[in-house]
Amino acid sequence: MTAYFNNPGKENTAEALRIAKERATQLGIKKIIVSSTTGPTALAAMEALKGFQVIIVTHEAGFKEPNTSEFPEDIRRQVQEKGGTVITVTHAFGGLSMAMRKKFNTHVIGDIIANTLRIFGQGMKVACEILLMAADAGAVRTDEQVISMGGSNSGVDTAIVCRPVNAQRFFELRIQEILCKPHFM
């Protein structure tokens, strides 16, 4: 089954994690990638996904303010102590595209890809983006099936099954299953 949430947002986090765990178990998937900006989703994922290798992908440092990470250090430690991995790297779709947008008010490839994926919801854009970041960081292999979960501002509301690709091979990405997403009533 696929779950369509009435609205995007963090209220869907617990159900999205439950759905991801169930499907991971059915498919024998070991690794689940989860976006988390400020930490609560990371902790919820560590609790809900016990027994899986959880890879938390945070915002890049400096996303909100220079030299600042939005992801609390104590939660990073908690995740690591529980066997999870926390990745903080350049955003795959943001990066230089965001530099172009900020400096020249123009939209280039990363913005176009991101806005195209947003037709399936912000969470779909995030779920795809963090896959690339996790692959480029070496946290997942590109020949193993994983679940990737993203959300809209906070929490997670979207989960997909696929094999990761590196950012430079983005157009080779193929999403195998959509487990949940907002419906946009």
Binding site: Y4, N6, N12, I112, G121, F171, F184
Partner: protein, 189 residues
């Protein structure tokens, strides 16, 4: 509570899935009270199969643009065109939304611009997903579907159909406002 949906995943892309796609899309259209379908059909193969399955639905058949394969050539079957028109269906032959000038740039300069980038992004969900997003925009710009009512959109990979979604069409200029509400079926890729 979330709405429970069902996505049928086909083992492989392609025309072998056409009958299943049409039946799945018709069933969901009836469940949701949807009255309009946009169906991509290059040769008429999919459109002809839809004639019975989508009886009672206002269908818009979107063909490939004339000259897509060879200059001045249109590969949509004249026989199927007559049958579809006789049912009161519309047949749209217009420039491809993601192709168009972007393909001109690709072919002349070997460079990928906006439409090519968007098309390739949607292809991460399958070629059919690119098509089911593209055709309703062409139909909206032609005035054949409204932007304030849900439709089912059906598309495929090269031939036949392998993907169906529920969405509310937008005009091309509003592409980034498009939201795909439900995915009914797609290849597992």
């Amino acid at each position: 509570m979330p709405i429970e949906g069902r996505i049928v995943y086909f083992e492989k892309p392609g025309r072998r899935n056409t009958d299943d796609v049409l039946k799945i899309a018709r069933k969901r259209a009836d469940e949701l009270g949807i009255k309009t379908a946009v169906i991509a059909s290059v040769t008429g193969y999919t459109a002809e199969k839809a004639l019975d399955i989508f009886d009672g639905i206002n269908a818009v058949i979107v063909t490939a643009h004339t000259g897509f394969s060879k200059p001045d050539q249109q590969s949509f079957s004249e026989d199927v065109r007559r049958k579809a028109l006789a049912k009161g269906w519309k047949i749209l032959t217009s420039p491809h939304v993601f192709g168009g000038l972007s393909y001109a740039m690709r072919d002349l300069y070997g460079t990928a611009t906006l439409g090519v980038d968007m098309g390739n992004t949607l292809r991460i969900l399958g070629q059919g997903m690119k098509v089911v997003c593209e055709c309703p925009m062409a139909a909206a710009d032609a005035g054949l579907v409204r932007t304030d009512e849900e439709i089912v959109s059906i598309g495929g990979t090269d031939q036949g159909a392998d993907t169906a979604v529920v969405l509310k069409p937008v005009n091309v200029r509003d592409f980034f406002s498009l939201r795909v509400k439900e995915i009914l079926c797609k290849p597992r890729l």
